[in-house]
Symmetry: D2
């Protein structure tokens, strides 16, 4: 779907599934505020020293659109974030209200097919709660929405990012294994083997748009999607943005390994109060999330300590995700000691810059001809689909080496 811009700067389309949510809203508002010189670039890895000198798309050249299942306007969605989370100032939002109103032109009604009742409950219309269309119809609509966006705005390319709420885990089905299998499931309207994210990924990749599965929804990054990406020459990455407790865990756990200290118990207790928290309070959605958070330690430590990950809803916290982790470990001569930490981080504030980073790096990879899973992006994900390490430091080194290779003009050997 990409076309080379004859001249002038590249115009990059960014299509968010879940464009009215706090993460998307914050990413969009942030990109516009920084582009207009009204905010600093704190939190953007792509603006930090280790990634200097890469030929990344400018923030000014990013154009936003997306799907959502709520009808609220972008300005109102942003003001909702300001009011409920306090993470963006009302004045800041009003200063870019014009930009946000333009984006409203590029927002389309999405689907929550087979996403479970807690996600469907978010929708404000009957179609959202009870999708009447067939899978081929939905896929066609998604395709038209994204193509229309590209054409209307004269974009050089579009990156599609999944920022929708966590779906319940999808049971593996043999047809998930190949691009053709997925195509077939859709064609035959086999709704129980497919969720909304499966469709979004399928269409995006088929259109040649890089796909980022920023959620833990396993339906949004299946083996068949990887095959499709490779055949279309498109890069993709996922799963689940690493923004809070797991980020700290993946920075701290290696310390125990380096010192030959034996972790006996690692319990994590997460409380959060936003829409995401409400969805996760539902058993099925929570199970999907816990699974991606809980796999980190065994890989880093080389053994499985006793772990427990709790996620509970606390309305008053809004987006201020609070996590308490307790680590009980054994040292020399079997003596037991402990480390505990409390993390208080605003989820959308932490996630939004990663989304922008991923879009820029995926777009760069696309232009460089990389396709399939991008290993060098593992540091951004709780459950990286590529890359075999959960150690944050090893993951970051992989990104740094990638940047070094590009700056050095040397061919990137892994492509």
């Amino acid at each position: 779907m990409d076309s080379k811009a004859a001249d002038g700067p590249r115009r990059l389309g960014v299509w968010f599934v879940g464009v009215k949510g706090a993460v998307a809203t914050t990413a969009i508002a942030g990109a516009r505020l920084i582009a207009r010189g009204l905010a600093a670039s704190t939190g953007l890895v792509t603006e930090s020293a280790p990634l200097e000198g890469l030929d990344l798309c400018a923030l000014e050249s990013m154009h936003f659109g997306g799907h959502d299942i709520r009808g609220i306007s972008m300005v109102d969605a942003a003001l909702e974030v300001a009011r409920e989370n306090g993470s963006i100032g009302k004045d800041s939002i009003l200063s870019i209200a014009g930009d946000l109103r333009e984006i409203d032109q590029n927002v389309r009604r999405g689907t929550s097919i087979n996403c479970g009742e807690s996600i469907c409950g978010i929708s404000d219309d009957e179609r959202g709660r009870n999708e009447p269309r067939t899978l081929p119809d939905i896929a066609r609509a998604i395709r038209e929405d994204i193509e229309g966006f590209r054409t209307r705005l004269g974009l050089d390319g579009v990156v599609v990012v999944n920022l929708a709420s966590t779906e319940p885990a999808l049971l593996r089905h043999p047809s998930h294994a190949s691009a053709a299998g997925l195509e077939d499931l859709i064609a035959k309207d086999q709704r129980s083997a497919v969720r909304a994210s499966t469709l979004y990924a399928q269409v995006a990749l088929d259109l040649g748009c890089p796909w980022i599965n920023f959620t833990p929804s396993n339906a949004g990054l299946l083996p068949g999607h990887v095959e499709l990406a490779k055949s279309r020459g498109v890069p993709l990455a996922g799963n689940d943005g690493k923004t809070g407790e797991t980020l700290v865990k993946s920075a701290l756990a290696p310390m125990f390994a380096y010192r030959a200290l034996k972790v006996l118990t690692w319990h994590g207790y997460n409380i959060l109060g936003d829409r995401d928290g409400q969805v996760l309070a539902h058993k099925d959605n929570k199970a999907a999330k816990v699974a991606t958070k809980d796999g980190v330690l065994e890989q880093i430590l080389g053994y499985q300590p006793q772990t427990h990950v709790a996620i509970e809803y606390a309305r008053s916290l809004a987006d201020l995700k609070t996590a308490w982790d307790f680590i009980h470990f054994e040292g020399f001569l079997g003596y037991r000691m402990s480390l505990q930490f409390t993390w208080q981080g605003c989820d959308s504030i932490l996630a939004a810059p990663l989304v922008i980073d991923l879009v820029r790096l995926a777009e760069l990879a696309k232009r460089r001809g990389e396709s399939g899973l991008l290993e060098h992006l593992a540091c951004f994900f709780k459950q990286p689909a590529a890359g075999d390490s959960h150690n944050l430091h090893e993951q970051f080194q992989a990104l740094v080496r990638y940047a070094e290779r590009l700056r050095g003009g040397r061919a990137a050997p892994e492509i």
Copy 2:
């Protein structure tokens, strides 16, 4: 001073300055318990997977001796640790009482010349509190003690480790810059420009014994010592074992850098109750310690956040060092968030295995002909004298690469 053993396993002498302290006592008890199969090797980096396959001295072949300014026997020193800290079981100590009694034969009265009143106050005799000898006399006595140890036990070599209490920081003197300058200060009995650790280091290196400055005492690792080490072909390393709050700090701080999050404030509050804590409660000794703890962040982050490091004495904690760190940081769009951790670790339990690791790695380096500061040991120190990173992960990678080179049989290029 080393001699090649004609045959049979190497016999390694380990000489601790401060051999009756909790760290030395725990290291000795631990080495003996593990050698006798009575304890596991948890906490020993040299027994962990990344260092597998190195030709390290066996724990069974380590023979202990040292200096101290207290007259208590080794068994009683160990029982004191058991009673006050609870970090080693009484039964465990009694099971190696014979070993400890043998070590008593290799313990000599040390010096605390110019170490300040809080250290001298630990001594139980008048000479400890008010050293009557000249510097040349003291140096000669130290030399005879270490040489006697080597000869008496027929050792293939001796590694000397400084485990004495933190001395007040020593003001730099022009003569510190060279081996000859240090020699001259001692010869002229210039007591104000020299502390006990200066003498121990000087004698050890002059005898060809690797020297580990495991304390923050800057007098124990001066430029002149490095020059002397190089000229004698001996390795040395320091300063200040990285065992607790700083260990966590150096594992966590990189996370903020990787995510372009801006640390505004990092305050650390340390409480501890052992003899070390009493000494550190004295203003001068504390200042020396705080300085080594506080330099970590600027190097890792690339800028200096507002920091504060407090160290306070809490008798009831004994050796269970408790630290609370509060980190206030800014993310996307200037939003402020926080991370806090509480570390509860037994200082001697954390330090002792590092001491054993350092002895083994220093002895290996000596045998391999490495001399001067050992860069690959930076991960063990709060203020590494060599190596330019405080990032725990980069430091550990340096150690891993060293091990890989040795295992690969390739010449280590940096030597």
Copy 3:
């Protein structure tokens, strides 16, 4: 069942249901160690200033026995506590081994009828796992055990304390409402409406023995038991010893009320690793426990904030119960703030002295002719069966006023 001792000091029997558990073992060991002058009385409210001058039974005059479903000896049970929890020293236990061996003579096999599989699984014989006897048979055996204890040791009275693991909550049955109803359930062997604790309470009260339900098991303190106690002139008290997180909660929550601060969210996350923790890991048993912990706030604050109480098993902690509580509250002008605390307390060490306190105060009440629920003991319980306040300070004032009345020689008006 009591008889006045003609002369000499009173001899008090203390009968523990669950006598081999960590709490009972610690209470017994502690009472003996203190009686022998080998330990201080820290933690005993009945030895503290506010209760001075009451005519309480001496620790020396307490004689212990009880039921259990494990066959281990008292010495071995105590050594198990020493080894797994480290809360009592091995040397201390050996110094009272003779006392403990005498108590073995007064231990009888108990019942875990209808206690659910997780409790029955603790038992080491088939009868424990699958009770073959009828309810009347079991009740008769309990009666004979307690009577035999009293007679054999020539005791002036016996207090019975329930220290068994938390049973699943018992559904209310109409017959629970009266003493006769309970009697009838037992006579008709209606096993589903009765749990082990129902029987123990029934027999104890019928024998005239004060009954303390130190567990959250609701089956052990039913309305019928209160009626029976009043008719027999016996005091009783419960439920669930207030030892840790809830203790702190009931001390802290009033602060918010006093300052008109509005608690929005109070989440508590408890981790523990002892046998009690294993039992509580079972859904049904946990539900019973959470219910007693969760009712505290509404009574103290006058409204129900959003609360969550989690209890999770962490084997490595053994008896060192660790709780993290997070309190989110609103102050002046709607501004939100937070308080969090981490409690690390050894459960049996905290519970054991309360058990001794309750035994002494119940015996005193019995002698004074008090019967039915003892309101002045509310401060000892998570879910006091009498007394309408959860505010620890109000509860403690009630106890202090009781002591003042007794010391003043004035008639206690409420009796």
Copy 4:
């Protein structure tokens, strides 16, 4: 200075020393917002159930004025709070901008005579930094300012509250003991024995205005002030509003006493970033503050555990005072356990409602003819000048009993 209003509601003047500071600004803004129905009364003890039915002055009838050493307008002072602390919304301030501008008419330049360089440094004019006037001149000016306020606004009475920054502790001088002595010191211009707060208190009381010393400055509540208050029939109260760490401490410490648990160590580490924090970073001012915080435990526990109170400046926190307290305690059989808490509270948000409460209760006391120190207000202060308990619960009970007496129409016996 009071006069009975012939008819209509009472008009109460509230005169703040330090009227431009965050606490005064927040109290004023809060009173106006609540009076106008724009905010709820959360945090106001005088609006909570236990104090219902008292004949307190309405918030609508409070009129504000005061002294300050900074020239900024009230609106700008409030916007400064909004910007730096985020504790009041900008919109809220703008909605009462008219009220605030009226108050500017009642603000007068104050004095910081002998308050030390860190307080004087806050002033924005030369006179503030280096007071040229004699003590009698300053006293006369203060008197005229307050009298002018009363007359101009036709007030029925004025309550004066000290909200200025903590002064260095004033060394006791024999003349402090009596009203005449203080008068004499002022008359003779003995500037070293008097600080600004001494003068404010002296004038206020002499004018018959109730005086609240909401700061730890000991110069603002001397024995001579109490004598003067009694002779003038005026009530007074102090010292140092109990808003954060000490509030929690005084709620929690009784728990250890109630349970006969022995507190070994209680360390508190406070970090804050507002102007108050800058002043407290100065050694002398900090010493005064630490003294009032540190006396609490001995009174509550009956013995002095090892304590340490640290106060450090962390600019980024602004007014969000963060405290970590670590409590190490001994239980049954000498076993050691710990409790730690982290308090994150906005200082001005916590203090402001207490100031309003104190004003209303002091005015009520004045009307009722109470004079001298008000014992029933102890719960509001870190170091209550009257009342012998630091136990928050006992303090609050004293307030509740006072209210009960008043509601019962019975004469309050202590007056």
